[in-house]
């Protein structure tokens, strides 16, 4: 979409302010030339956050923008912000805080802000840094929407689902209401009937509040190509994807007041738009725009404008959907960094569990990132009735199926028979295999499910201690030998590994088996296990650390080696 848009809008006049902010005219503004009110809103934010004279120097702001785009894996924005002098990156405390805000916004807490203060960063600098990071997220979301091929898809891990989110705020000391005669005051009173906490906590910088309310008014209030309700739905869904309880509770209230979905229906939209009662086209709209959210991006999913086009959305509507998503990310980041407390009773505090909802739509249902399936031709022959062609598939994949089952069920005497059963099941159901994943991934999922079924009737080996709530913390901290493999014969090592793997709780064991022993990619393993990529990665790390604990006593460096 982006190239067409850029080519069609060559006549776009570059704004001298934005040119000054970035060093050259930003394509992300040019791509929105069909929506002058959005460009106007973004210019105002750029002016108030980047261009104005403030405590934070321009160089430090650019370092923050660069940090946000690096973390977002957004090559377009990273190039836009250019190479920075090395000394601008020496701001460890501030950049560390921004990195956490950009990467794990819901986990930012009052203690992070307190740590900044103790490093000598005062509240005004913190506010400016948070606003700059929020602007950086807005840029990244716009670029992800307009230039999806520039997203490097560098997926990052999220904290484990068991971790608690700290929500107590606000984090900054100063609180003030906008002046009664100001434009922002008039807008907020008319829009909400009160001054939301998100703006009160920015009392140190009334000009920022003016710019933010101006942007909200220009983007959300104007009836443009999407309806107001559709835009509010996007804000709600993106905020839910970012686990932003504040923006979700605010958004749900506004939607119900505007006559859109009820509060209960808003809960459903947050959980899974596909299960809600909204029009089917809007379900696709929310599914795609939620992928633009910062956390969702980390799930390795990419915004697909063509899905919206297929649902009847025009190019202008798609552009506006991207713009509204970017505003949602701006507001979410601002709130997460400042800790504004909700203005309405919270119906449900969003937690990490909401990152892994039950819906299959939120999970990687295919590993289409690898478009070529080397088995495709043979599978087609079998599906067309060539029974003997199945022999080639058995030959190719017998090692993986056998290894997966051996690691899952443990009893080697049973494994050959169960391996045969898996291939028979695959043969019986190959007619329904639709190539949404590679054949090998589909076959692996059959093997895992068959192995799990067998395990249900068995008494397991004693598992390692597992503490879901407090998280797993490494306990063994003695150095290992330089070449631990040389301490034991291969057969002894294999036996130790076999016992250690079989003692892992099943949910960690199967992930270690697929990733480290069968050498599947992260995407393949996640698809085979029907897990999100962050969940897969969290379990893999936990499994590896548990194995390390289990094997440590055999491989730690002895005193003789030490000397």
């Amino acid at each position: 979409m982006s190239e067409n848009l850029v080519a069609a809008n060559e006549s776009f006049q570059h704004d001298p302010d934005s040119t000054g902010a970035h060093g050259f005219p930003p394509d992300i503004l040019r791509a929105q030339s069909a929506l002058p009110s959005a460009i106007d809103a973004e210019r105002r934010l750029v002016g108030a956050i980047l261009l104005c004279e403030s405590r934070l120097t321009r160089l430090r702001k650019l370092a923050i923008l660069r940090c946000v785009s690096e973390i977002g894996g957004n090559e377009h924005c990273r190039d836009l912000h250019g190479q920075l002098p090395d000394e601008s990156l020496d701001d460890y405390a501030l950049l560390g805080f921004v990195a956490k805000l950009a990467r794990h916004a819901p986990w930012v807490s009052a203690s992070d802000v307190a740590a900044l203060r103790s490093a000598g960063v005062d509240d005004e600098l913190i506010l400016e840094a948070v606003a700059t990071a929020a602007l950086g997220q807005m840029f990244c979301t716009l670029a992800n929407g307009f230039f999806p091929s520039d997203v490097s898809r560098a997926v990052s891990s999220l904290p484990d689902p068991g971790d608690l989110l700290e929500t107590a705020g606000p984090y900054l000391g100063s609180r003030a209401r906008p002046a009664e005669k100001s434009q922002s005051y008039a807008f907020l009173k008319e829009e909400y009937g009160f001054i939301p906490n998100l703006y009160i906590v920015q009392g140190l910088r009334p000009d920022l509040v003016e710019a933010e309310t101006y942007a909200v008014e220009r983007i959300m209030r104007r009836e443009t190509v999407l309806s107001r309700i559709q835009k509010e739905y996007i804000l709600l869904a993106v905020s839910a994807g970012n686990l932003n309880t504040y923006c979700v509770s605010m958004g749900a209230q506004i939607i119900s007041i505007l006559g859109g979905a009820s509060l209960e229906e808003c809960d459903q939209i947050c959980e899974d738009p596909h299960q809600s009662q909204i029009p089917s086209g809007d379900k696709v709209l929310l599914h795609e725009t939620r992928k633009l959210a910062a956390l969702s991006q980390q799930l390795g999913r990419c915004f697909a404008a063509e899905q919206l086009q297929a649902s009847g959305f025009t190019e202008s509507q798609i552009i506006e959907a991207v713009v509204v998503s970017s505003l949602a990310n701006f507001l979410n980041t601002l709130q997460a960094g400042l800790g504004a407390v909700p203005d309405f009773p919270v119906r449900r505090v969003l937690s990490t569990k909401d990152l892994y909802p039950a819906s299959g739509n939120s999970r990687p249902i295919s590993d289409a990132a690898v478009p070529e399936d080397p088995d495709a031709e043979v599978v087609r022959r079998v599906q067309a009735g060539d029974v003997e062609a199945f022999e080639e598939l058995v030959r190719r994949h017998s090692r993986r199926v056998f290894g997966t089952l051996a690691g899952l069920i443990g009893n080697m005497d049973d494994v050959p028979d169960v391996t045969q059963d898996v291939f028979l099941k695959a043969f019986e159901h190959i007619g329904s295999f639709q190539a949404r994943s590679k054949f090998s991934t589909w076959l692996t999922s059959i093997a895992v499910n068959t192995g799990r079924q067998l395990l249900r009737d068995r008494k397991p080996l004693e598992p390692l201690e597992e503490d879901e709530d407090e998280g797993f913390r490494p306990r063994q901290i003695q150095s290992w030998a330089k070449n631990p493999e040389q301490l034991l014969a291969a057969s002894q090592r294999d036996e130790l590994v076999r016992i250690a793997v079989l003692r892992l709780p099943e949910k960690y064991r199967v992930v270690v088996l697929l990733r480290d022993i069968q050498q599947l990619s992260t995407e393949e393993a996640a698809a085979a296990l029907d897990l999100s990529i962050p969940a897969l990665k969290a379990r893999l790390l936990r499994g590896r650390l548990m194995l390390r604990e289990s094997l440590a006593e055999h491989f730690v460096r002895s005193r003789n080696q030490e000397s």
């Binding site: 973390i71 022999e391 058995v394 056998f402 391996t419 290992w480 590994v497 022993i517 969290a538 094997l551």
Partner: protein, 79 residues
């Protein structure tokens, strides 16, 4: 400066070489100072190496033909 908890939160991606250059620099600055995290990184990498290289769940090469033969025999019998 990162704490050990910060380091562990990013450890999975660090192992997979999936962190940005800025974050990598921060993590390595922490590693330079922290003996405990150095040990955890080193021993986890060795754990992965030992587990990956292990053949403990491998199908012996001479058993492949046997499995192929038995599977195809059962399929033909069913038809």
């Amino acid at each position: 400066m990162l704490t050990c908890a910060d380091f562990l939160a990013e450890f999975g991606d660090y192992l997979e070489d999936a962190v940005s250059s800025n974050l990598r620099a921060e993590l390595e600055a922490h590693l330079h100072e922290c003996k405990t995290c150095q040990v955890i990184v080193d021993s986890t990498r060795k754990t992965i190496r030992i587990v990956t290289d292990s053949g403990c769940f491998a199908l012996p090469a001479d058993k492949v033909d046997l499995i192929v033969r038995d599977v195809m025999s059962r399929i033909r019998k069913k038809r």
